[in-house]
Each structure stands twice: as structure tokens, then as C-alpha cells.
């Protein structure tokens, strides 16, 4: 049992490869494969056509700052530059349907954290081979369904994806590269838990194609880590951070939580300062939200823990972001800070209303099923429970449990709600890509509520577009309600349908989605 919870043991302490792994592998794979067979060398053993070269390259160049995998087909080079990467790109991402980000959900954890209500399971038995097969299968199916020509970024989240074997990660990436185009410089992030990320594994993941690591440090106080139910200690976290920076220099992110029960402002700011002296170019600050169904929620309900003080949390947030600003970090999103242009392009895609494909139990997606002849973007959710999901994937090729077509207005609402989370907000060009008929000025230019927000110094609407001020970002949810209502209002009163030029250049009646 224990071995199954810890992927490190898939090769077994006796040097045995997990049988599932062997089944998955090509027959020539030695059954007594050593540890190394999981690592870069593994790539060479994978008999997946057309991928060897890439992985061999990855293996040899893994210590370089950015992965320089060769472009398998050499196409789309110029498109790559227009992806809306914040890094060096002036263009917002196109809301087109040619490309997407891809999210892979690894649903398993060693232990339930006291604050987490994500879709995760503590497996008693885990057939990683089967899981891997299903992830691969669903990736293929959904990629084909989406009809995308390119995947701009991949994110392995969870759960605790660092518990998965690098082999599983590699095979998903292989599948993507095989099915569509995965540019060499595409950001490929893995969420990592300090206890399951010792040096050798970090290197192995790099070999599998990971080029960015996001470490859930959460706190630099052992008592707080205990309160949160984390399995790691402060020294585990710092060790992992150090190792990660060595393997993924400039591409390591850390998470720090604030607003915990009984947490004080000053000590937390000291934690942040300490982390600042150790971290790389990316930090996420997350305020604890007490979620129903978590132990912390229950403890606060029962009164065994004090409920977090919103005033203190607000103060931590304000001071925290000031400290980060002074340290040269750009707050490019409500909770995310980067310096040296180390923004996460994957998450940026979400906030800019880009397409994304969700693979794995409970994963969410937003894409147009072009491969199926669809033209409207769909919100998709995969089956939550891993065993059921696996059954469905085996039977149907995917475990999509729910798909809802987003109306034009709903898509615009998402664009608005997500875009305003970023520091650049929503530029005019960006908005017009989603809604050519109704500009930001048309929607918000004359609204009394918007003028009020502007006079309060919370919101800006100018030649660049619509965005929150530094102060406004902290109260975005309140600001958003007014803007959403204004958008709904403007949508209802928009001018009657008129001729609209489609991508192909043909004029067609605008479809009323109401």
C-alpha cells in the first residue's frame, strides 16, 4: 500500500519496475529496469514514433534555462510569437480556436490537506499504468475534438502531480506532441509538493519535459504547516526550493498562504521577507478561503479554531504586495507576482479568455469542439471520481461528464471577470477580438456606476482599455458585480443584429445567442 502512494517506489526498493509500467512499456524494455530507466534515458526507450529526437534533446539540454526542444514539424513558428505570451509579446492572445492551453489533473494525494476542497483522492491502491493510459487516451481524444493546431502550454495540477511518475508525465507530453504541435518553448509546469520532490525526481521530471515548477510551500512556519495539514516541514520546503532553482533556474514558482486562523500580520510579513530572499522569479500569495467540507472549515465552525480575521488578511495582502513591488516584482494578477518577465503563460491564457483543454478526473475545459464541427465554445467538466473517469475513458475515449455551450454573453462575462484580474486588464483590441460590435466604450463608457468606480480610484477606462487600479484589484469582486450588471444591461440594449464579417471574410447574420 505504502509503495503505491509513493511513486518513488514504482521501481521498488528492490529495483523492480512496477508491473503496470512494464506492461505499458514496449516489450524490449528490461523488466529489471533500474531507476535510471525512469529518467532521461527513458525517453530513448519509449518506442513512440517521432518523439525520440525531441526527448533525447530534452535530456541533454535539461539544465539549460529554457527547454530547447527542436520543433518537430517546424511549422507555426511565426504564430508562436503571437501567442499572447506576456514574455516579450505585445499582442494579446487571440480568442481563436487554433491553439489552446492544456491542463492535466492528477487526482491523487498522499494525505488530505486541512484547507483543500479540490478534487483529490487518497488512493488505497493505485494502478498508475491504467491511469497513465487513460490520461494519454483522453488527451488524444480531446485534442482531436478541439481541432487545435498547437498547444501553447501544459500544466500538471492536482492533487499532487509530483506524486505521479515522470514516465506518466512524459507519455502525456509525448501524446500532445504527437497529436498536435507542442512548440519547444511551450511552458510545461508541474505542481510539486516538497515531500515528493527530491532532487533526483525533479531532474527526472525535467527529463520528462517539465520546464517550470510550482512548489506548494504555503508557509515558513512549522506550526502553520501543521495547522494546514501539510506533510512537509519548513526545511523540506526550503530544500526543495533550493533544488528546484538549480534544476529549473528562473522557472520556479512558490506559493505562500496568508489569512490563516490566528495568523498575525508582522510574523507573516517576516515569512514573506524570508521567502523573498530565497525564491526565484515567481511568487503566488493566496489568501486562505475556508471551504465547506474541509477540516479547517469544520474546526472554525465548531469554534476550536478562531475564524480568520479579514482585516488582518487585508493588511497582509496590502503590505505583502508593497514588499514585492519594492523587490521588483510585477503584480500581474490578483495573487501572482513575477520579476524578470517570469509570468506564467499558462495561467495568463486563462485570464485572457484563451482556450484550454482539461484532461483527467474533474478537469475543466473551455474550447470549441471544432473537430466535431462545433462553433461555440463549451465549458466542459470531466467525471470527478478517478475510477469512474477511467472507466469512461476506456469506453468512450474521454470522461467528459458535462458540456455546456457558452453563449456570446457568457463568454464576454468570463473575458471581463478574468481579464480584470490582471494588471493590464482588458485592452480594446483584446475585447474587440471577442466582441467586434460592442466596444468597451459602448459597454462601460457612459455607465454611472463605472464613473463612480473611476472617481473612487478603483477602475480605469482609457485609451488602453479597462483595468483595475492597484487599490481596485484588492476589491475586484465588488467592482466586478457592477461591471457584470452593466455588461448584461448593455448586451440587452445592444443595437439590432447587423452584418458581421467572419474570419473567412464572408458576411453573415450575427447570431443572437439569447
Amino acid at each position: 500500500m505504502q509503495g503505491l502512494q509513493d511513486p518513488r517506489n514504482f521501481t521498488g526498493s528492490h529495483g523492480q519496475v512496477h508491473p503496470a509500467f512494464c506492461r505499458f512499456r514496449v516489450p524490449e524494455q528490461s523488466p529489471a529496469g533500474s531507476r535510471e530507466c525512469l529518467y532521461p534515458g527513458l525517453a530513448a526507450n519509449l518506442a513512440l514514433p517521432g518523439t525520440r529526437a525531441r526527448f533525447r534533446a530534452a535530456a541533454t539540454l535539461c539544465t539549460q534555462r529554457a527547454s530547447r526542444r527542436s520543433c518537430a514539424a517546424g511549422r507555426g513558428q511565426s504564430l508562436d510569437e503571437n501567442l499572447g505570451h506576456p514574455r516579450g509579446s505585445k499582442q494579446p492572445p487571440a480568442p481563436g480556436t487554433r491553439s489552446a492551453a492544456l491542463y492535466v489533473h492528477w487526482p491523487y494525494c498522499e494525505k488530505r490537506c486541512n484547507y483543500c476542497n479540490f478534487n483529490k483522492y487518497i488512493p488505497r491502491t493505485l494502478d498508475e499504468g491504467a491511469m497513465q493510459k487513460c490520461l494519454v487516451k483522453e488527451t488524444t481524444t480531446l485534442l482531436k475534438l478541439s481541432g487545435v493546431q498547437r498547444i501553447d502550454s501544459v500544466f500538471f495540477g492536482g492533487g499532487t502531480p509530483s506524486l505521479a511518475s515522470p514516465h506518466t508525465v512524459a507519455s502525456v507530453l509525448e501524446t500532445i506532441a504527437q497529436t498536435t504541435h507542442l512548440p519547444a518553448k511551450a511552458e510545461v509546469t508541474l505542481e510539486a509538493n516538497p515531500t515528493s520532490s527530491q532532487a533526483s525526481r525533479l531532474t527526472a521530471f525535467q527529463g520528462a519535459g517539465i520546464n517550470r515548477l510550482s512548489i506548494g510551500i504555503q508557509s515558513l512556519d512549522n506550526k502553520e504547516l501543521q495547522l494546514l495539514g501539510r506533510t512537509h516541514s519548513v526545511s523540506d520546503a526550503l530544500g526543495t526550493l533550493e533544488e528546484a532553482r538549480r534544476v529549473y533556474p528562473g522557472r520556479t514558482s512558490v506559493d505562500l498562504m496568508f489569512g490563516l486562523p490566528a495568523q498575525q500580520v508582522e510574523p507573516w510579513l517576516r515569512q514573506l521577507q524570508e521567502l523573498l530572499s530565497l525564491c526565484d522569479d515567481h511568487i503566488s500569495l493566496y489568501q486562505l478561503t475556508l471551504e465547506r467540507g474541509t477540516l479547517l472549515f469544520a474546526q472554525v465552525q465548531q469554534g476550536t479554531l478562531p475564524s480568520p480575521d479579514p482585516e488582518a488578511a487585508a493588511e497582509m495582502y496590502q503590505h505583502g504586495r508593497e514588499i514585492l513591488r519594492e523587490a521588483g516584482f510585477r503584480q500581474y494578477e490578483v495573487s501572482n507576482f513575477a520579476r524578470n518577465e517570469a509570468l506564467s503563460t499558462h495561467n495568463w491564457t486563462y485570464w485572457q479568455g484563451g482556450q484550454y483543454i482539461g484532461v483527467g478526473p474533474g478537469a475543466h475545459g473551455r474550447f470549441v469542439p471544432r473537430g466535431d464541427g462545433g462553433s461555440l465554445r463549451e465549458a466542459r467538466i470531466q467525471t470527478l471520481e478517478p475510477d469512474n473517469w477511467m472507466k469512461e475513458v476506456s469506453m468512450f475515449g474521454h470522461g467528459t461528464r458535462k458540456r455546456v455551450s457558452l453563449s456570446e454573453l457568457e463568454l464576454l462575462e468570463e473575458v471581463l471577470a478574468l481579464g480584470l484580474r490582471t494588471d493590464t486588464g482588458i485592452t480594446h483590441q483584446h475585447w474587440l477580438q471577442f466582441e467586434p460590435q460592442l466596444s468597451l466604450w459602448d459597454v462601460f463608457g457612459k455607465a454611472e456606476e463605472v464613473r463612480e468606480l473611476q472617481s473612487q480610484g478603483l477602475l480605469l477606462l482609457d485609451h488602453r482599455g479597462l483595468r483595475c487600479s492597484w487599490e481596485g484589484l484588492a476589491v475586484l469582486d465588488t467592482v466586478l458585480l457592477r461591471l457584470l450588471l452593466q455588461l448584461q444591461n448593455a448586451w440587452e440594449n445592444r443595437p439590432p443584429p447587423m452584418l458581421k464579417v467572419t474570419e473567412s471574410g464572408a458576411a453573415s447574420q450575427r447570431e443572437d445567442s439569447r
Binding site: 492551453a101 491542463y103 489533473h105 479540490f118 478534487n119 495540477g157 500569495l285 493566496y286 489568501q287 486562505l288 478561503t289 479579514p310 482585516e311 488578511a313 487585508a314 493588511e315 495582502y317 496590502q318 490578483v334 495573487s335 495561467n347 486563462y350 485570464w351 484550454y356 482539461g358 474533474g362 478537469a363 475543466h364 475545459g365 473551455r366 465549458a379 467538466i381 457568457e410 462575462e413 468570463e414 471577470a417 478574468l418 484580474r421 463612480e452 473612487q456 478603483l458 484589484l473 484588492a474 476589491v475 475586484l476 469582486d477 465588488t478 466586478l480 458585480l481 457592477r482 457584470l484 450588471l485 448584461q488
Partner: protein
Amino acid sequence: MLARVGAGPRRRWAWAARAALSGTCGPWPSPRRPGEDGAFRVTPARSSSASERTEKLDMSKFPVENIRNFGIIAHVDHGKSTLADRLLELTGTIAKTDHNKQVLDKLQVERERGITVKAQTASLFYNYGGKLYLLNLIDTPGHVDFNYEVSRSLSACQGVLLVVDANEGIQAQTVANFFLAFEAQLSIIPVINKIDLKNADPERVEKQIEKMFDIPGGECIKISAKLGTNTEKVLQAVIERIAPPKVSRKSPLKALVFDSNFDQYRGVIANVALFDGVVSKGDKIVSAHTQKTYEVNEVGILSPDEKLTQKLYAGQVGYLIAGMKDVTEAQIGDTLYLHKQPVEPLPGFKSAKPMVFAGMYPIDQSEYNNLKSAIEKLTLNDSSVTVHRDSSLALGAGWRLGFLGLLHMEVFNQRLEQEYNASVILTTPTVPYKAILSSAKLIKEYREKEITIINPSQFPDKSKVTEYLEPIILGTIITPNEYTGKIMTLCLNRRAVQKNMVFIDQNRVMLKYLFPLNEIVVDFYDSLKSLSSGYASFDYEDAGYQTADLVKMDILLNGNPVEELVTIVHKEKAYPIGKAICERLKDTIPRQLFEIAIQAAIGSKIIARETVKPYRKNVLAKCYGGDITRKMKLLKRQAEGKKRMRKVGNIEVPKDAFIKVLKRQPDK
């Protein structure tokens, strides 16, 4: 033979009677809790009584001297309904089974609360001393809120059974009911019930009765209605001690309407007691109150289900259907007489006068029409509820309802919920204040000097009035002596003035206080019950109006008055009430982007203040692919809620905040 007929419909009488009498019949649903009572699961149907109805009883065989009309009066839970059950069984009116529990209390609310809301009537046939007697049991409502109904019911009686619990002794309602009967000059037969209880002390109760009511101890009948002990003696006492009605068959018809019900198909069913004359199908009758003429379609007795008779004769009690479309056409206390044979109306008629007002609003405005029809249907059977349309910026369209008293209000609300499945917002009850105007302009406007203020927005400014008046009541409290101190403090806090204090025995005290009505409409009864561990009982009667130092209190949000929160308060009570409202608002008004000052003010003077601090941070920390759906859902729900918020200045106030302030508070 008559007895046989009387026993005829036993098997099914319970549900048929419920259908006939409870007012819940008709096509609209009356939700009954499944399993509440097996007998009630059957859908009521009138067809069962059709055969009996065709077999018309000849009531001429009951001469006046063989008739007794009597009621049962008692404090809540002293066993009035159980005694009625036994009397029905003894006379063969209903079969003797273990299931006869409060058979005359047919409403769910009556059974749950152990009270009688609607008077019910049963004609009992009893053989005594070789004669067949017709005993008409008129079961009166058991609370002074229904004082008027009680007094009308009693006016159809010549005597009452005054039931007192052998354990609890005389309670406040016992006293109130006794005086009602006493003033009506009825024969009073004291019945000490529950003598089977372990702590029963009938001798002590006998002494209380002697001391309080001046009835010799020997006259009390000690019974256990539950076990049937001595209940036969009660029937005999009814015959021996209560006089037959003094009436004349030969005189023209004079009938008292003492209750009425509405039936979807047959219209109004009036319960009548004949003082003189005879009535039969086809007679043309006139209502003394409305002067409208009707033709009688049906007459009969209630046994307790309807049984057709050929006629009803002087001294008898029964029902009458005469094409009345609305219960207001058969008002309680009205007199009916034959067309072209007018008689002097019976004394004591008055229209119901509401004493407690409350706003009633649907929780969701889309429910307005459903609630409207539910209220209409319920008031069809209860003409004492006054209904005025009202509307509030915060709560939408609704009504201002007037009730006879607090219990009446609660019962009405409970019946709406239970019988019509309606959920409503009921606002804090208010009382009708009065103002004596001094401003000539206002007097001209109102066309009178004394005006009644039901809505606080009509409250005239102090400069334009000579004085304000508030309704007062005379409250009777009976309590074990050990709680007297606490109760006196409670009364003092409620601005009450003590009028009387009597020991009714060694350890029980009766206190009489004059209370401003508005001091007892909110949570007085519950406070009294909780500080006396449930032992003190309370009852009250109308005591007119008295001068009061009333002020209008505004609630301000950042200086802007909130129209729906204007309250009329006694000057002495302004601070605690204002503070409580501010606190409740503080708890329900969400933080906004700026600070909100919540103030209670009298004129320009601020008497209480609370502050809602502005948001410093309000943004969901995490929002990635998987969270977007959830986040959008949440935002949209909030946006929907925001649409429904009421803006006071630039402050958004959710409906909940108003509800929380305006709604009747759960009693502490």
C-alpha cells in the same frame, strides 16, 4: 329512533365533519401531515352524508323543556376537548374508540397548539329519567383573542362547564372565561378535570374556585375526562342545573348567527341558535345587519357532521344555508329573521375590531398571486381579519393585516403555512395609535379631530397634535408566588401599571396590570413563560386608549432616511429599540467600498449608531481553469442579488436586511 339516526354516520363522521366544518374543504389543498391521524388520510367526501341528509329528522319532537344549550370553557390544555370527546361518546354521537382525541378540534393548528380556534357544535341525544334530551354542545374558541366569538357562542347557551385542571388550578384564561360566562348570566358548572394525575389536588382547586368565583365547593364535579371517570355525572348536571332556553316557537323567527363557515360549493354555512320561531327550507330570511334577503336552501343539525332536518325550532341549534356568497354576509352576532316579520335584533353585535397589525409579504414576489388567493380563502372563514393592500420599497407588494390579537395572528400565519403551503414575511406587529389633531389644516384634511394611525408614515408631527394615544389592555397574570418578583419587574419594564394583586390560594397569585398593547405584542408572552418556567398564565382584555409620549424614529444610512424602517415608539423605549435595529442592520448590510453609518434618529437627534467598515480586500484569491465556472456562478448569483438590492443613497441594502429588521423576531 332518533338515537339510532344520531349514531348512524359514526364510522366516517370524523373526516366528513372535518370537511364540513374546518373550512379546509373545497378544491384547494389542505396539506395534512401524513400519518398525523389515520382517519384523516381519506379524502373527505360529502357523498357519505347524502343518505342521511335525505332522511330528514323531525326536530318538532324536541320540546324546549327537553333542550339544553351549553358550552365548555377552560384554560388551554385543561381538557376541554377531551371532555367533549367523552360526552360525544357517552351519547353515542361518535363511536367509543381509542382514536377520539380532540375530535372537535379539526385544524392542524388546533391540535398542535391544543387550542380551539373555530367554534364547533354538536347536538347530542341523551336519554335521562325516561326522557330523550337534545343537548347542544357549543364548543367555544378558547382564547380571549376570540373573546367576541366566545361571547356570541355563549349567548346561545344557558350554561357552561367551567373546566379546571386539578393539578394546575385556576389560570388566567379560567378567570377571563368565568367572567364572560358570569356576565352573560349563565349557569356555571365547575368541573375539576384530570383527577387521575399523580399531582392532582382537587380539594385545593375546589377552594380556589370557591374563593375566586364564589361557587360552593360541593358544586364541583371531579372527573377524569381521559379515563371517563364521572363524565356521566357531567351530562346529568347539564340537564339538572342548566335551564332550558327561554324561547317561543310561536313568535316570529329570531336566530343568532354564532359562527359561519364557507363551502366552495354551497356558499356560507351559518351556525345558528334559534331564540324564537321556526325555520325551514324555502323560508325567506333577512340579515338584520346587512338587510339582505335570502332564501333558505337547507337546514339541519350538527351531530357533529351536518344532518338535514325538516325544520329547526326555537331553542335548537343547527346550521342554515341560504345562498350567502361571503362570510361577511353572515357575521358573527348577526340576527336573522323572516322576511316581512322583522324582530328586535339580539343585543351585543359588533364588527370585529383588529388590535394588532402586521405587514404580510410573499418571500418572493412571484408568489404574490398565490398568497393573495390563500389569504382570500382563509379570510372567507375568518371575517375578523382585516386586509389592506400595502407595499414596501424593500419587501414589494403585500398587505397590512389586522388581527384580533397575537394568537389570532399566529394562528392565521400558521394556517397559511400549513393549509396553503404559503411562506410569508410577517413584519413586527404594530398597534393602532391615535392622535388628537390640533392643526386646523390637518383636521380639514382628515375630516376629524381624532385619527387612527396604522402606518408609521402617517404619523403626524408633534406640532400638529394635542396628544397621542395608544391602546391599552388589562392583563391578568396568574403565577406561583415564587415568580411574582420577576414578573413584576418584567411588567415594569413593559410600562405596565399594577391594578390588583390577589392570592388565589396559599401559593398562587393573580396580578392585574394595565399594559400598553404595543408592549405585549412582541415577545411578552414568551418572556413571561420563560421566566416562570412555563407556570405563569396570561390573558388580556381591551381597556381603551391612554395618552402616550410617542415619537417617530427614523433609521438613517449615511444620513439618508430609510422609509420602510420608520417606527413609532414610546419615547422611553426609543434608545433600546433604535439600538437593536442598528445592530441588526449592521449584521446584515454587507460591507461596501465605503464606510456606512447606521443611525437611529428622532428628529435631528441621533440616538444610536453602528458602523459598517469598508471592504479592504474582496477578491477571490485563486481563479484558474477549474475555478472559473464556480467563480462565474458565484458572481452571477451575487449580481442577481445586487439587482434586488434596495439603494439608499449609494448604499446597497439587501432585502434580507429589511426582513431581519422588520420581521417578527424569534422570541427570546
